[in-house]
């Protein structure tokens, strides 16, 4: 049997807090991180968001960057989360020569570009921010602050970016191209995508209510999360116990509409099927689904229909975007880390703000966090604009020897 892909470290920063422990605490206490818009000079103060409650200056001190450094917020969030993952995996003492860094982002340095864009066009006041604009610049910056990498790239498939980073990382490990890989994503809230989603009229006026009959759309969030992945053989060699394994993944394209999902959830069914096929598991083996569940009319219906089609009996399901908001490019990793915390600490995280079942679906999400509940496998769905659908399956680590 092929070497299993193991997760040995993880880090997270989101509206729930700046590490795994704060995140778990809030999940167990059912305390959402969604609140008021701060740190962003937007007129849309009435729209609730899931912000990381640390201003840039504080983030800079936390990650040990000089206050005068020209750096994007997406980069700062990324460094904070990736560092937590690296420390947990004891990666620095592993003696590895070939470590990769694969990060998902879409807004990149946009939060700075939107502040200084008129200067970029008309004068030379803020030229130092120009080269921060693109996605790759953020990844390079995060990498620079973490250490030396053999490989580094950026995935930008909108809201499924981080999930796709996990797939590339796993493939590189399977072919022995890297000793270990740090995968995930980072994204801060920008006026650009806040206004973008707002013009599409898919932002909820209150905190999002995924899978609720009266859901009103997305609540935007921000954050970063990363996993350290390595092969089981490498884990054995350096005697580190894996947190869990990545047992399957699938990526498919809905090929239906740039911003809407197909009514039958074709792309979602395909990505979930591919992931199940690779894992060798049956739908009935999946103990929990962390849904993409954005809270829009369209996504939750399409994803819900797809899940009902594939799962004869729908497993416990929740969208933890009701805690963090939709962290867009980082969401695949943020919600994977949340689900791994839940799987390894035996609880099911709630789908907050749910009150009324969707007529079209034969299931309801988990209303309250359920403690002392054990499951062996979970599925994480992550879908993006343009029908970029990705599904991942993680399993409890069980030593086969």
């Amino acid at each position: 049997m092929a070497d299993r892909i193991c997760i040995t470290g993880m880090g997270i920063v989101s509206a729930l807090g700046e590490n795994k422990y704060e995140t778990e605490d809030k999940l167990l206490k059912e305390k959402s991180g969604i609140g008021k818009l701060v740190y962003l000079n937007s007129i849309h103060k009435e729209i609730p968001v899931g912000m990381v409650k640390i201003p840039d200056q504080k983030l800079k001190s936390k990650v040990g960057v000089d206050q005068n450094t020209i750096i994007a917020r997406t980069t700062l969030l990324g460094i904070l989360a990736a560092r937590e993952a690296i420390i947990q995996a004891k990666l620095l003492g592993a003696g590895y020569k070939k470590i990769g860094f694969i990060s998902g982002t879409t807004v990149g340095g946009m939060e700075k570009s939107e502040q200084y864009y008129l200067d970029f066009l008309h004068n030379d006041k803020h030229n130092e921010y120009i080269s921060l604009h693109d996605c790759g610049a953020c990844t390079e910056d995060i990498a620079k602050h973490l250490g030396n990498f053999e490989f580094c790239t950026t995935i930008s498939t909108a809201c499924s970016s981080a999930a796709n980073a996990i797939i590339l990382g796993a493939n590189m490990l399977k072919l022995g191209l890297l000793d270990a890989v740090i995968v995930g994503g980072s994204e801060c809230i920008t006026k650009f995508h806040l206004n973008g989603f707002n013009t599409l009229m898919i932002l909820d006026k209150g905190p999002c209510k995924p899978f609720d009959a009266n859901r009103g759309g997305i609540t935007l969030g921000e954050g970063a999360a990363y996993l350290v992945m390595e092969t089981e053989q490498n884990c054995d060699l350096r005697q580190i116990k894996p947190l869990c394994t990545l047992s399957g993944y699938g990526n498919a394209c809905d090929a239906f509409h740039q911003t809407a999902s197909s009514p039958d959830g074709k792309g979602a069914i395909l990505s979930m099927q591919k992931a199940l096929e690779m894992s060798g598991l049956e739908p009935s083996d999946i103990g929990y689904i962390n849904a993409h569940g954005t809270g829009t009319q369209n996504n939750d219906l399409s994803e819900g229909v797809a899940i009902s089609t594939l799962f004869e009996k729908v497993p416990p399901i929740s969208s933890t975007k009701s805690f963090t908001g939709h962290t867009t490019s980082a969401a695949g990793a943020v919600e994977t880390v949340i689900s791994i915390i839940a799987m390894t600490h035996n609880f099911l995280p709630a789908n907050l703000n749910f009150s009324e079942k969707m007529e079209e679906l034969n299931f309801e999400p988990i209303k309250t966090t359920i403690k002392n509940y054990s499951f062996d496998h979970f599925m994480k769905n992550s879908f993006g604009f343009g029908g970029n659908n990705t599904s991942l399956i993680f399993s409890k680590y069980k030593n086969n020897n």
């Binding site: 120009i130 790759g136 990526n251 343009g386």
Partner: protein
Amino acid sequence: MVYINGIGSISIQGLEKPELPDWGKDNYLRCSEPDFSKYISPILSRRMSKIIKRSIVASKLCLEDANVKMPDAIISGTGLGCIEETEKFLLSMIEQHETLLQPTHFIQSTHNTISSQIAMYLKCNGYNSTYSHLGSSFESALLDAFLQIELKQIKNALVGGFDEMTPDYKNMLAKIGYLKNEPFLFEEMRNAFSSGSVIGEGSNCVYISADKTDHSYASIIDVKIFHTPENYSKTIDQILLFLDKNNVDVSEIDAVMLGLNGDINNDLIYDNVYSGDLLKPTPFIYKHLCGEYFTASAFGLVMMAQFIKNNRFSNHFYRKYHPTNPLRKVLFHNHYHNKTHSLILLGKC
């Protein structure tokens, strides 16, 4: 090993054979566009931005060339994504103080719009992804496809490098020293003596497959991306390791296709790596024919694939002298500010 079975290119060169372009005093050229109505119905193309139209046509030409209707996967590299639409939304958001905005430009602004619009056009439900990592965006996409074929997750893929360069973005790049101040001379490609480059754009793609056909252009023996080598000798080590992994001796490399762009800081890296006795294959260059941009290497690969197949090449591509051997094995080497290097080992079929 995979095979390049189809190519498609929209570049500043148009669809004819490469000519030396007149860069003008701006050192900036835009794509020479075909008549899109020949390829995409006006009803569809009305809603598409420039880069989407170009990329769909390049993909269509590529698949037709390969005689394939549906790829298993669509994987794109784009450094800037749909920058024109991004700029439109950004500017109206700033000028209108976040009011009365239209969603169209936002919808079309994300980087993955290109890959997903190609998928929608082809109705392709297969694997779909987009890489946006500076000068290795296209190579990242190619690596992803290559690995998936090796792992038998897919059998073939449409892999593209897509970028557009707007006048505003070009001006921003000029401010931070990416453009030459003086009109560009072709001689600078052979021996750069000033900083800055010339800026272009393009949509170039290859169809790669595990299966060889009568029409195959070249084989891709391996792809490698490596990061931030400490010095030149580390770069040479990486190249030698890469060749060694593929059981290819340095002496077997007939030519090397280099990402020289006329910027002395960029080109010095190649000069130092390929100056010793160890690595002395015939150097080819291409960026003066397509301009420098994040995914210019896709144009270079499309050109080199043709040279290998036909064993014919325009002398615009020589750096110093023409090769004496037919092209059996070619090393494709590109780097971005010495941060990210990419290697593609190509072979004759």
